[in-house]
């Protein structure tokens, strides 16, 4: 008898240990494992106008202004547009011949990154044909900081690289890696998520998370009444471009007395659907805000299944959301975190070796898709899979459209 019990407790202990392992390391190394809400942690503790880890008033104001800024360059090629500012002199890098580029990628674990990586690969083809780049060696860190640091160190010591492109996995952890790459004296191009150093030759990114938050929260506030309930679906904590989206949106919701509650979903549609269904059981939900469109369809389906009116909603320029948006006719907005930025790093490398100056901070345009423009983008991307992004900007690249269709 005793033995049975001890055995059972021992098994339970093993189980609990395994449970710990699994949720942290094995099962889902990157995404938040379950839905979590942090409104208690961040929202209430935060004084308005005070800077916190993810809210810097100056950056907010800057991005707010950049939303209506004029961009240099041809509007037909938004991936080469930039806001006028400090430029990096690259005459020291001027060199002839095709160069080898080494790309340390954070991951391709979401449709946005997958779409972007295809665009980048096709851009590489074009630049190979042009004789600017000989080869691109890619290492995928699979959402792991340590792996990416090791990848960067490998490139530095054994990669035989002429230039580095780094898409950091996380802001603070990748800073030393980028600094080490800079120390080699070779060009370093950082894009998408930022790092805490300005040693890179150029840092390429769309306007940013605050602009996303401002666009979306303003849209919801305009279309909703004071006191209306909004469910905010967030993928995961700790990534600057996602945290700032929510930080800006939360501020605007507070100012407009919109009752917004945020949840972490890990982009898991089951979680999203549960969260919405539970919220609908609690009371009326008037709006849905998302920090990324992945899973938008599950959120809309939760409203359909509960048999209630569609919410006012902001998703993303992902095809699944654009199509569902059109089918349902809900009031919505598709904010854009410009996917065409994946073209820019390689083009920047080409410019750098040609000795052309590049912006120190290369801010790309970031314009949401409104209901009026939706049909145009749906038509332009007809036949693309659901995980494709409307503003991918690769229509003139070799392999279009097959490369994006067969993934």
């Amino acid at each position: 008898m005793r033995r049975t019990m001890r055995g059972a407790i021992a098994s339970a202990a093993v189980l609990v240990v395994l449970a710990g392992c699994s949720t942290d390391d094995v099962d889902e190394p990157t995404d938040a494992t379950a839905s979590e809400t942090t409104s208690e942690d961040t929202g209430d503790a935060e004084e308005p106008a005070d800077d916190t880890e993810w809210f810097v008033q100056a950056d907010y104001d800057e991005q707010d202004a950049q939303r209506s800024a004029t961009f240099e360059g041809d509007e037909a090629e938004p991936w080469l547009q930039y806001i006028d500012g400090e430029m990096t002199d690259t005459s020291e890098f001027k060199a002839d011949g095709a160069k080898k580029v080494c790309f340390a990628n954070a991951s391709v674990s979401n449709p946005w990154r997958q779409t972007g990586f295809i665009t980048m690969t096709q851009q590489l083809e074009a630049l190979k044909d042009a004789g600017a780049i000989s080869d691109m060696e890619v290492r995928d860190a699979q959402d792991d900081d340590n792996t990416q640091l090791a990848d960067i160190d490998y490139f530095i010591s054994e990669g035989n690289c002429d230039a580095f492109i780094i898409s950091p996995n996380s802001t603070a952890a990748m800073t030393p890696g980028v600094e080490r790459a800079c120390d080699t004296g070779k060009p370093v191009v950082v894009f998408d998520r930022g790092v805490e150093t300005d040693c890179a030759t150029t840092f390429i990114h769309p306007i940013g998370g605050y602009a996303w938050g401002i666009d979306t929260a303003n849209f919801l506030s305009e279309n909703l009444e004071e006191g209306d309930k909004v469910i905010a679906l967030r993928i995961l904590p700790g990534v600057d471009v996602l945290e700032t989206r929510w930080a800006a949106a939360e501020k605007i919701f507070e100012e407009n007395a919109i009752d917004a509650e945020d949840f972490f979903t890990g982009a898991d549609p089951t979680e999203i659907k549960k969260i919405i269904t539970d919220a609908l059981n609690q009371g009326e939900v008037k709006g849905v805000w998302m920090d990324a469109g992945d899973g938008a369809v599950a959120a809309i389906e939760a409203f359909e299944d509960a048999g209630v009116d569609y919410p006012v909603m902001t998703g993303e320029d992902e095809m699944s959301f654009l199509r569902k948006w059109e089918d349902t006719g809900l009031t919505g907005l598709a904010p854009v975190y410009s996917n065409f930025q994946w073209r820019t790093p390689l083009l920047a490398v080409q410019k750098i070796f040609a000795g052309e100056e590049v912006p120190k901070e290369w801010v790309l345009p970031q314009t949401p898709i409104t209901e009026d423009e939706r049909a145009e983008f749906l038509e332009a991307n007809d036949g693309m899979p659901d995980g494709h992004y409307a503003k991918f900007g690769g229509e003139d690249l070799p392999g279009f459209p097959e490369a994006w269709q067969d993934r």
Binding site: T4, M5, S11, V108, P111, K273, D278
Partner: protein
Amino acid sequence: MSTITTTETTARPELPAHQGSLGARIAAGMATPGGAVFVLVAVLLVSIMISNPNFTDPGALIRFAGRTAPIAIAAMGQYYVIVSGEFDLSMGAVIATQVVLAGNFIGQDQGRILPGIVLMLVVGALIGVVNGLITTLLKVPSFIVTLGTMLALTGLVRYITGGAATGNPVDDFRQIGRGGIQDVPVVDIVPYPLIILVALAAASVWLMRRPFGRTLIAIGDNPAATNYSGAPLWSYKTRAFVLSSLSATVAGILLVGYAGVHPSVGAGYEFTAITAVVLGGVLLGGGRGWVLSAAAGAFALELLFTLLTSLGVPSTWRDTVQGLIIIAAVAVSARAWQVGRRPRRTPSPTDLSAGTPTQPATGTTTGDS
């Protein structure tokens, strides 16, 4: 000692669980860990209804039941493995594999729905056979085997999808997990997942009353004795693993309908299922517990999470709650089953009164469903 044993065998009283009125027998059943979970479900349900009056609506209730069906089905699958003395940690990964398989194989092709379901069931059965045979024939502890299967499948899913969502399968296929019989009076809709759950629960009760079920419990209780009785352990345990993987497959079919394709669908299901099973009073290590209690455990767990949400407890606490439940439920049920057992080892005079109706011998009822 020996005298007492002899007395017991010769003068063994009628099984207390089969005595008395129906009410008394139900009351005796409710006092066991496997029965108490039904009381727990009722208590939680009432608490939720009090904290959130919207939940009293029959429509909301039946939707809740429909959405809990995949977890309950997974818990019943896990039950077969646990009651035979093993673990299946691969369930979540099997669900993710099936979800991705459905998205890729069926896609938007109406004609592939049936072949797709057959393919998924075959893949599910194969995973179960592999788990079972490695555990039984190669004598590798099952939580290592299934942990390995889990990692292998997770890696495969990541390789195929790159970790991102792919397109959903055709809507008709998704109706299995999303739709229901419409325009039913009172409840408005009867979700298909709930119907599937009820059918599987009925089949499980029947199966556990068959020689297969009884032998499975005997194996969990005392593998050596069951082996001497001539039952091939490897065959029974392998079938338990197959049932578990098939349950995960059915859960996967329902979840892809409910939510859509994403590699993280099913994440953590193995632990939710194990928690549900121990919450249902099934003894870890095997040999004791009812299959329906496992399903009830799943409902209790989901009700508890819903209650916490409606009370405004951040769902960040979910994993903590689940961890505490595993520990508490195992500790309590190990003790409680012990209390119900016919005392054999304590040579005290009270032994002679063992088995009288005043002392419900709940342990004897374990094999009943």
